[in-house]
């Protein structure tokens, strides 16, 4: 793997980003507007200007959810833009490898995620006084763990798009939302039926959001949940990578990869 080529993919992504208003809207506008809705709902439920404990849980969930959403979206949309424009395989007749391309997308997604989380956190602080800075040195750990989860999902979604073609493009902005109801984003998974709790246990987000809420709302540092999330992140990334390699091999055999330029 060449670090230089990863940097050039970052350059490519940056050039694309500065010319594409819709990417700005997707990443920063939508995340901020969604957060505003959650803040006002939280205030409505609390019945006053404060958001209350449940409301704080909702808002924390939305602020940090942006790390998952933007990170995953960037990995898949980065490839999709190239597929839609039929320029995807032009990149791969250079020495660039799929791994270098993906790592470039992951890094660029991480940067955008961090910006999205910062913007969301500032909006939340301005409107509710809720400050994620109080999470201290665990804040970057939580963000990193959520990003790692987003990369795992991103790899799996990309594998599906490669396998099924760009007709499955909508998965890039829809599949990740399956995590929201079952992944403990806004509430403890104990409210879910037993069967769904078993599914929730497979998502790193379940442990990360539980740890964030425990630390922010109760002042308890749940290191066990943090380690569990890290282990699951590794499993998701590994499975995502295997799925992507299998899909790539299949498209190279079927000719679908070459047809991405026709």
């Amino acid at each position: 793997m060449s670090a230089n080529r990863i940097v050039y993919i970052l350059l490519h992504t940056w050039y694309h980003f500065i010319h594409s208003m819709e990417t700005w809207v997707d990443i920063f506008w939508n995340t901020t507007v969604n957060l505003l809705i959650f803040i006002f709902i939280a205030k409505l439920i609390a019945g006053g200007s404060a958001v209350g404990v449940e409301g704080a849980g909702l808002i924390l969930g939305m602020v940090f959810w942006n790390a998952v959403w933007v990170g995953q979206y960037n990995v898949t949309i980065g490839a999709l833009w190239e597929m839609w424009s039929k320029s995807f395989n032009t990149l791969f007749i250079t020495p660039l490898t799929m791994e270098e391309f993906i790592v470039g997308q992951m890094i660029s997604g991480a940067l955008k995620s961090i910006i999205a989380v910062v913007i969301s956190a500032l909006v939340a602080y301005w409107l509710t006084g809720l400050s994620v800075i109080t999470l201290g040195w665990m804040l970057p750990v939580y963000v990193f763990e959520l990003l790692a989860f987003s990369w795992g999902i991103g790899l799996m979604v990309l594998a599906l798009i490669m396998r099924l073609g760009t007709d499955a493009a909508s998965l890039s902005w829809s599949l990740v939302f399956l995590v929201q109801p079952f992944g403990g984003v806004f509430y403890a998974v104990t409210v879910l039926p037993d069967a769904l709790q078993k599914i929730a246990a497979l998502f790193p987000s379940t442990y990360i959001f539980a740890a964030i809420r425990a630390q922010y709302l109760d002042g308890v540092l749940e290191t066990g949940n943090t380690w569990r999330a890290l282990g699951l992140d590794a499993v998701w990334i590994l499975l995502g990578y295997i799925a992507l390699r299998l899909a790539l091999r299949q498209t190279l055999t079927s000719g679908a990869f070459a047809r991405l330029s026709e």
């Binding site: 050039y8 694309h16 010319h19 320029s87 007749i93 250079t94 091999r249 190279l252 000719g255 330029s261």
Partner: protein
């Protein structure tokens, strides 16, 4: 004898299942030597593009072996792609990036030394400078092809694969491309080219591989392939005796066409003297005569019709 730069052995590609699939490339073998310009010709669906895509590692072969610069993709992908490039009318680049941004990213991916100077050289050569700042998706088909050609020459490839490189180009730019191909060959570049422009192939190629139904059906220089079409067209602009000329040709068994004052007769090379002498004996007079030797295009047409 120069080095075999591209060595393809028993290459086969079958899409789908062995029982019901489609055999796109059927056990072909060929080699291209350093500095050679080789044409890969054949009708649509013959297997040319599938072969090119396998040479680019964009399609996995079902069986067979591809060695480029003495190595294979499994062990030498980085080294191979560093010295190889590809251009086609169908190649697209990142749509939202400007032409310059696209070329800069490509130059860096190929680790081109002094990339800005190289970009500047080819931008001028292919007349791209005037739209260097435009986003790629705003360009016309011809402009896109010129940008992709810049990309293809940027890394001074040792092996250049060209698929219809001049389709959609104005004749003056197509001429520039042919000149650049021939000039690059003097620097040692090897080229494998597919084209439907037979005159272009005749002009630049040292050798032609003719592929049909996934098989290489003939291989020779353009001149020798054209010679396999033994019929020569003799076109006469008649002054007197047009009906006698047509009647004689038909009686002699020569294919003949008549249009206004022109009569075109197809004869074997050895029968030209006999034809002209016979017409003179019959008092036929003509104002002009042109004798067209067979071209690669004639070979192509005859080949597809099974006439060679």
């Amino acid at each position: 004898m120069t080095e075999l730069l591209l060595d393809v052995r028993q290459l086969t590609k079958r899409f789908g299942s062995p029982a019901a699939g489609f055999l796109a490339v059927d056990n072909i073998s060929f080699g291209v030597r350093e500095g050679e310009i080789v044409g890969l010709l054949g009708p649509n669906g013959a297997g040319k593009s599938t072969t090119i895509f396998m040479l680019l590692d964009l399609i996995s072969p079902t069986s067979g072996e591809i060695r480029i610069f003495g190595g294979d993709y499994r062990h030498n992908r980085d080294a191979i792609l560093q010295k190889l490039n590809y251009s086609s009318t169908y190649v697209e680049m990142a749509p939202r990036l400007s032409v310059y941004e696209n070329l800069l990213v490509m130059a860096r991916l190929y680790q081109v030394p002094d990339e800005k100077k190289e970009i500047s050289t080819y931008v001028d050569k292919f007349g791209v400078r005037e739209f260097l700042g435009a986003q790629f998706h705003t360009l016309s088909a011809g402009q896109k092809t010129r940008v992709v050609l810049c990309k293809a020459f940027l890394n001074h490839p040792a092996l250049l694969l060209l698929d219809e490189p001049t389709a959609s180009l104005d004749p003056d730019v197509a001429l520039l491309v042919r000149q650049e191909i021939l000039e690059s060959r003097t620097r040692g570049m090897t080229v494998l080219i597919t084209s439907h422009n037979m005159a272009e192939v005749e002009e630049v190629c040292d050798r032609v591989l003719f592929i049909n139904h996934g098989k290489i059906v003939s291989e020779d220089t353009p001149v020798e392939l054209a010679r396999k079409v033994r019929h020569i067209r003799v076109q006469l602009m008649m002054k007197d005796g047009q009906k006698r000329t047509v009647a004689f040709a038909k009686k002699a068994g020569f294919p003949v066409e008549e249009k206004d004052r022109f009569v075109t007769i197809e004869v074997d090379e050895g029968d030209i003297a006999y034809l002209l002498a016979s017409l003179a004996d019959q008092g036929v007079e003509y104002r002009q005569i042109s004798i067209d030797k067979p071209t690669l295009e004639d070979y192509f047409i005859k080949m597809l019709g099974g006439g060679v």
